[in-house]
Symmetry: C2
Subunit: 423 residues, 2 copies
């Protein structure tokens, strides 16, 4: 399949050498004819991997080469992380791409197991990372609709609502191989924020006390244990596993979900919560981005509306898929048993309420870890005034703690939006 016989970390120079050995890629670039027009640019600004944009400027064609190295890029070689993650990323991209008919996931052109390398569609400008758009105060009118579509489809079609047990367990087994990535999430989301860890940091000294209080909050830790148990044990659907706002690239009309290297069969609420939780972080960061030109008031309203619309649209799309496929191969609710409209309503209501509470819990846990854990978010990091930043972060942290502990008291997304506004 690949050009190199053994694993070798690429750099901007060796990328072209690699592509020359892969006909599927070199032909895409028309490589050989006008090699001087080929450019390679390393753009990996994520935490984990190296990403190269390879372009033939004379034919105006580009694609992306993403390579996983056996450690975490933003930490360095001291924090090992299996490069096998590239395999699960490529498998998830293919599956999510097929399910969403290529609408919201970049197409995979080539996967090289030896090199832990994926070649895929280049998401051309004006695509930017959603988080950067949120910091800049840009509204995306289709974002809620697209994300609801992505989540409803990828989660529904990989669950037992659509699949047989046999089919489901075969896929669950395959993604059990991505255990190292799950373990990483367990550490950074469910463990490190609640214990002393060399990688934790926060806006010090302002949040020192907050971080300390968190580590002694018994009731919070009791709830975190429940969420961690669901994350580790419940194979509900193929989840993206890291669906924050830097895993989404957007334009005015396009929404593309990238980087599913944490994909495995886990609880659906972990994806929904990641997305909603990061929108709530974006909301609480807005006060730090106010300037003379923009008081961010209407943008904060837009974020709240996007949170509300995302859940409501997700809910409706998910239920519509369920109704459409209720006589299909899915084995969770056989139509001969769940055979009357009243009962169908009852089971759907309970399913969606449980999913809502899961999403709130996971969303809150993801918020907390971004404030006192190892990896922070640019929404807050880009607020240069530390006092202002700490104030924004403290409000987000306090809201997340309430959300995590009291999540089962909330009955719908409008209550969440009100709670955010009133906080």
């Amino acid at each position: 399949m690949g050009a190199f016989l053994e694993f070798r970390p690429l750099d901007e120079g060796s990328v072209i050498e690699y592509i020359k050995g892969v006909p599927a890629l070199s032909s895409k670039l028309a490589l050989g004819k006008n090699e001087e027009d080929i450019t390679v640019k390393e753009v990996g600004d994520g935490n984990l991997n190296f990403v190269y944009i390879v372009s033939n400027n004379s034919v105006g064609y580009s694609f992306v080469i993403k390579q996983a190295l056996p450690y975490i890029r933003c930490i360095g070689e001291s924090w090992a992380l299996t490069k096998e993650r590239a395999y699960y990323e490529s498998e998830a991209l293919k599956e999510q791409g097929a399910i969403t008919k290529g609408q919201h996931v970049p197409q995979v052109y080539h996967y090289d197991h030896t090199m832990s390398l994926i070649a895929m569609r280049y998401l051309e400008p004006p695509h930017i990372i959603l988080r950067k758009g949120l910091i800049a105060g840009i509204e995306y009118p289709l974002l809620a609709h697209h994300m609801a579509h992505f989540m409803a489809h990828t989660l529904f079609f990989t669950s037992l609502l659509f699949r047989s047990t046999t089919h489901h367990k075969r896929h669950v087994a395959k993604f059990c191989g991505n255990a190292a990535m799950c373990r990483h999430t367990e550490q950074v989301v469910f463990s490190d924020p609640y214990q002393i860890s060399q990688y934790n940091h926060w806006t010090s000294p302002y949040l020192d006390h907050d971080a300390e209080v968190l580590r002694h909050d018994n009731l919070l830790k009791l709830e975190v244990a429940d969420l961690k148990s669901k994350f580790c044990e419940r194979a509900q659907a193929l989840i993206h596993g890291d669906l924050h706002t830097s895993s989404v690239m957007v334009t005015h009309d396009s929404t593309q979900v990238i980087d599913p290297e944490f994909a495995f069969y886990g609880p659906m609420g972990f994806d929904i919560g990641a997305f909603l939780g990061n929108l709530i972080l974006a909301y609480f960061s807005q006060d730090g981005h106010v300037d003379q030109l923009n008081d961010r008031k209407s943008y904060k309203e837009w974020i709240l509306k996007t949170i509300e619309d995302t859940w409501n649209l997700f809910y409706n799309k998910f239920i519509a898929l369920w109704d459409e496929h209720k006589d299909g191969a899915g084995e969770a609710y056989l139509s001969a048993i769940y055979d009357n409209p009243e009962l169908q309503l009852l089971v759907q209501k309970r399913y969606m309420t449980d999913l809502f509470h899961d999403s709130l819990g996971f969303g809150a846990a993801k918020m907390i870890r971004r404030i006192v854990g190892v990896a922070h978010v640019e929404d807050f990091e880009s607020i240069t005034d530390a006092v202002k930043r700490a104030n924004c972060e403290r409000r987000a942290l306090d809201f997340a703690k309430t959300l995590l502990k009291d999540r089962k008291k909330f009955e719908g997304i409008t209550e969440i939006v009100s709670a955010i506004q009133e906080f």
Copy 2:
């Protein structure tokens, strides 16, 4: 490994021929010297497999050969069931044997994948199937202690309380291969009793109305869906998967758990519930076994005490294992986070309460399926008077329905025992 090059169903005649080709087995029997002393007896009285006791009477040595055929024995070739189950049975026997130090599981001498065959220890007389002992009214003073030990150890040591995520997911993946057996359980426990199925039967016409009411009980079906979802999705520990009272062989001093061919990583409560639920069935069947010599009153008390002791001993043993290993490799509750006695109590209480409610729910579902589903229990089937049998079954069925719906209202096992007595 084996004597035959391809799968072939054995019979009493060909068993010896098979053993001759397996040195590990023929040497055990001292085969070759006094072949005329070898006897083979088919004794499989279970629902699924063929079981042969092979003995050399001159040396007084016996072992068991168990072969899985690709269908369900008690139904016939019309209900296919993968013979791969023998692999999972042998893996589970080895794992449970190692965990319980051989105390409560027969030793495996030989496994032949091609033949779907296991040779294992013969559980010599006076070992009998526990269910037969319960029907005969025999008390087993160590039963609760032994079963609590078996369940606490096998469930604790295969859970994330003891294991790392990496270790856990590797084993989960392996047992995902036993999906066909899971699917069978899903059908007979969680589906068929609640729909019209050609295999369902009950003591007709007496229970016709009860079976019909069950199929229209929306609230019950709502709860059954929750349990089914846990069964299909929650990989909590390596469970036996079929831990009723015919999967246990007993003497006054010995308790041996057999037949784990349904083993997979599922919810712990499914095992605990299977055992307790079948004891409750035994309790409700006792009135059908009253005769002039024995009013069964004190035996019913003994069954209730065994139910209570089993849970309480299980609880204490499980918590003791947890405390003992809380600083070990288990990743569910890191000791640096769950770092004070008050919090440790809180998490253990919640964990055990959830497990208790799961056990009640699964136990109730297992009771129901034994009364209106495909496979019934000898406890009731041996009551020849159909009216008397139907009355016993109806009480058990009604109690199970209450237990399933109201399980979360019960806080402890004494409340369950009282509820049974007062029913």
